[in-house]
């Protein structure tokens, strides 16, 4: 029976050629969910946001330059979607309250841990959106100030001052509560 031998190398090559866009995207999913949860504070909205971001990323894949950071590109898509879609929908529904259902996420510890997590969620949701995203990008996602500013689309100085204000507010909120 005739078999074609070079299949493996050609498959490998093809994967490399496309920068394996899909696998890189799969690779990013855990971080996307983390960022989405931080932005929305609610697990249902977070996964909706991830879904929208995946759809947009796949539709606009040609706009991503292979060799540049896919994570930054995705974060940018996500924060834009959050502002345009999620936040707008919430305003219309007028139900922008901390989502208690979302607090179950990641809460595996005892009562004490759950309370602490809920406290952090509430404190984060009290921040203005632009301060919350700055805190998330730098302190949770580990972006540099420059990367974060590029994702948000603002000067580094602006990003820095949002970060400082957001961080100070969080420290006050969390330390007062503790």
């Amino acid at each position: 029976m005739k078999r074609t031998r070079p299949a493996v190398s050609s498959i490998r090559k093809a994967w490399t050629l496309t920068q394996t866009f899909e696998t890189l995207l799969v690779d990013l999913l855990p971080r996307m969910r983390r960022f989405a949860y931080g932005l929305t504070g609610a697990s249902a909205d977070a996964d909706d946001l991830c879904q929208m971001a995946i759809e947009r990323a796949l539709a606009r894949r040609d706009q991503w330059q292979p060799g540049t950071r896919l994570d930054s590109w995705i974060y940018k898509i996500m924060r834009n979607l959050f502002i345009d879609e999620i936040r707008a929908t919430r305003r219309r529904r007028e139900t922008f309250v901390p989502d208690e259902a979302g607090l179950a996420i990641g809460a595996e510890g005892g009562q004490e841990a759950t309370v602490e997590l809920a406290m952090i969620d509430r404190a984060m949701l009290r921040l203005p959106d632009e301060q919350r995203e700055a805190v998330l990008l730098v302190m949770v996602e580990g972006c540099s100030y420059k990367e974060a500013a590029k994702i948000v689309g603002c000067p580094v100085g602006t990003l820095n001052s949002r970060l400082v204000r957001g961080r100070d507010a969080l420290m006050d909120l969390l330390e007062d509560a503790a």
């Binding site: 493996v8 696998t23 690779d27 855990p30 996420i105 302190m139 330390e175």
Partner: protein
């Protein structure tokens, strides 16, 4: 030199250059008030990590994985502009994925998340699986393994010489082992590349392993029942 709160924050975020960093370090060592400021930053960062890290560790919902998998398997774009490279990749990859997906699908979707972490490099000289790996290969069915299994069995198949082989992935390596009278002979091993930049992992490692498996296989991958029978037969030559 005066050290501002902004500098302490930038220090905590790793944003300072070497010179500034050394100066801030010295100032912090000399001033308990500055040290306390830094401690506040670190505590907040720790709180945030404790809050958000578990979310990244959760299993990703199937619907998100499916969304991406559908795109990876689509042979033609839906009216979008597809580059030559993408078109070629889709043409060459799709048949393999289609052929293996019915059996390997669930494992593939899950293992993509677990496993595409590192580029895979050279095949090493063959030997036999060590006892930890051999135990897993000998005992665990694809259908039985926990979602976070490490090593994880990707699939089992019968090679053209009749022997039963199994493809596995762990965080450290992966490959294909075939059972013979002595144990699990590792016919292909893909080792992780330690110097790889974690930000830019690119190789499709599971695809690489599956591609080799496809080359070796007589037919397709075993289904759950065939795998169970093979285990009952001690994984030895079915011919």
């Amino acid at each position: 030199m005066t050290v501002t709160p902004e500098m302490i924050a930038a220090f905590a975020d790793g944003e300072l250059g070497a010179d500034e960093r050394r100066r801030v370090e010295a100032a912090i060592a000399a001033d308990p008030e500055l040290a306390a400021q830094l401690e506040r930053h670190r505590r907040l960062k720790g709180l945030l990590a404790a809050r958000y890290a578990p979310i990244a560790a959760e299993p990703v919902p199937d619907r998100l994985l499916t969304l991406i998998a559908q795109s990876a398997h689509a042979e033609t774009g839906s009216g979008e502009v597809v580059s030559m490279a993408q078109a070629r990749a889709r043409r060459s990859l799709a048949p393999m994925v289609r052929r293996w997906l019915p059996v390997a699908g669930p494992a593939l979707a899950a293992s993509l998340v677990l496993a595409i972490w590192q580029p895979w490099q050279s095949a090493q000289p063959s030997g036999y699986a060590d006892s930890a790996l051999a135990t897993v290969l000998e005992s665990r069915l694809v259908a039985e393994q926990p979602t976070n299994a490490d090593p994880r069995i990707l699939l089992s198949f019968q090679a053209r010489d009749g022997s039963v082989c199994r493809a596995w992935r762990s965080t450290a390596d992966g490959g294909i082992a075939c059972r013979d009278g002595m144990g699990w002979k590792v016919t292909r091993r893909f080792a992780g590349s330690p110097e790889a930049d974690r930000e830019y992992r690119q190789a499709g490692s599971d695809a690489d392993i599956l591609a080799v498996a496809q080359e070796m296989a007589k037919d397709g991958a075993m289904d759950a029942q065939a795998e169970r029978s093979a285990r009952a037969a001690g994984w030895l030559n079915l011919r």
